[in-house]
Amino acid sequence: MAYLFQIDCVRYACSCGSLKSIAKIYFCRHCLSIRCGYCVCHEVDSYYCSNCLENPPASEVRLKKYKCSNCFDCPCCFETLSIRSGQVLVKSLHTTQEESKPVTKKIYYLSCTLCRWSSRDAGIPDQTVATGSWREQESPNTYRITALINFYKILGSIEKQQKERKKFQSKRIFLQFEKFGITSTMARKRVGQLPLLQSNTQSDQPQPSEASEEIEELSQDIFTKSIDITKITTLDQRLQHPELQVENINELRPQRKQFIVKRSQRCRFCEHTVSKPDYCPTSTKFKIQLAAFYHVPELRIVACEPLRLGYSSELLLKFCNPTQHQTQIILLSMDTPMMPTTTTLQGIKEEINRENVQMGCDSPNLLPSAVRQAIVVEEGRQVNIVINAEVILPSSSFILPPRDDAAEYDDPSDSQNSQDDPKLVVWRKGNKAIIRLDVIPYVDKDKMVKDEPIVVGLAMQYGYINTIATLEHKAPQKLDLKVKLFLTLGNLVHNIL
């Protein structure tokens, strides 16, 4: 139900405070907490071209200026251009005979399948090889800007040297750049003095720009000549190529396609990867994918009776255990502390701190903690959701058996668990169970006015077996973890009186 098309009906609270559906959250097995796209560190994993799927290594990507060398975008509609081939008759020049036989030659041009723009429109000559020969337009200002950059680099390094020697020398600015400005009195002081000449850098200084009185006048044509809007580029087309920003549509030139990236995601707190895609761009698989739906019981809304103010309605929820271990589920109220707990052999409950979670920090692929950077703490997001109904929480807990892929094909005869509270658990099969709860919308005049959907909140405690420890030949740790859930149940039904 509340899944394929209504993924936001059941939202899990991430440890950073974001509310997301289970499909969008991760479960860090090392910190034992829920993470989401907002509170993990995203990193660029690999680059690839979305058209030809070429994936050069990162160093090469930079040399290629983050653009694919073979694929182009249409300058007109921004779709990918395809390379078309055609044949032309070429008169062979080498033969001595006057009437030489015409030779057919294969030629290539770029063409857009959506807006039918082609490189011939732009007057780009056809190429004899399919890829690699399309020249990119050089910026007319490259030389000047390079000279300026070099000049400022030199000034920058002089400033650096100066700073080191400053104690002994009289101060002079080389890089004339005062960050926070000065008052006009300072400017006035400067005026009386000789201009600050950098005698020793003058030879490197590019010719400063000359201001001119002449400016481009508005052409008189504009008042009389009618214009054809189909020949003038749109703003988007101009901004696609910032260097030229051409005005006429036939001056548009194809743009190289930009590489896109695959990202890996890393938990900010323990620096373990929670998601890492396969390197190959054709693969949609992951090397590491600690998605929450592999570790945290999934909750779906099965049915909910029409909601009426002040009356209780029946709500059916389906729980599903995705792990290989049996888990016990207890539903708690929203204000229970969220710390994970464990039960010791003596049967005493104790809280788990980050320190005594068996983190497996010593695994060799992680940097020693001394080298690792300090964790940058980001403030959590505030949960701005209004809970406007109460759930009557059950007093008893229930068990979800482990997931068994083979059981899918078995006869569902042993479906009832005798230990179940029949008032709570109404159905069960394999690792899934449906429970019944009662919901009462709050009678609150303020909240009634707003015609907002009814949202209930509850905390789910589930058992989790920390298997990281087994890698180090320790006994797996049994933990009780909690997660807050927000369920959107739909709008109130107005009472017909």
């Binding site: 959506l114 039918r116 549509i249």
Partner: protein, 190 residues
């Protein structure tokens, strides 16, 4: 398709040129002339409501596309809808234009209203519509959700290969109307 009309009476008003391929499942109503080498797919509708429709040579009229000579209140006399040669009406396109030239393409779900006249070599892009009265200049392409316009360098090529292929394939799987028009004189004289 109206079942009441017998095939012969239906065909009464429908003239089909030699070499044309008109599937029987096509919906044809009214006075229609279809030129030679034109392909009309099954479930394409050609409806001559206000007056006759004359379709030229080598057109491809695909499934679910509609060519309609619609009755409008400001008609004087019987308007004739004329469609030229080598046009392509792609799936689910609607053409109400009073006059269509040659080598035009109406892409999927394109719509052209009655007040519009298409000249030659125009492309009406997928899901684009033309509603305001105008004569579309030659080699115009209309594309994208904002119905951008541009003049093309080249007109779209006539779909000769596709025509040839359809002639072979459709014959094998559909009942077709027999051409009932003698080949045009120009052709017979050569």
């Amino acid at each position: 398709m109206s079942d009441l009309m017998s095939p012969s009476s239906r065909r009464f008003n429908i003239k089909i040129g030699s070499g044309a391929l008109v599937c029987e499942e096509a919906i044809l109503k009214g006075d229609i002339t279809i030129g030679s080498h034109t392909v009309v797919h099954p479930r394409a509708s050609i409806i001559a409501e206000a007056g006759p429709i004359i379709i030229g040579e080598g057109n491809i009229i695909e499934e679910m596309s509609t060519i309609i000579n619609r009755i409008s209140p400001d008609d004087t006399g019987t308007p004739v809808q004329i469609i030229g040669n080598y046009n392509v009406f792609e799936v689910d396109s609607t053409c109400e234009a009073s006059k269509v030239g040659d080598n035009n393409v109406l892409e999927c779900k394109a719509y052209v209203s009655k007040q519009v006249e298409l000249t030659n070599g125009c492309v009406i892009g997928a899901s684009c519509s033309l509603r305001d009265e105008e004569v579309v200049p030659e080699n115009t392409i209309i594309y994208g959700s904002q119905c951008h316009r541009r003049e093309m360098n080249d007109k779209p090529y006539p779909q000769l290969g596709q025509l040839e292929y359809l002639m072979k394939m459709l014959l094998g799987y559909h009942h077709i109307y027999k051409p009932n028009m003698p080949p045009p004189k120009t052709e017979s004289s050569t």
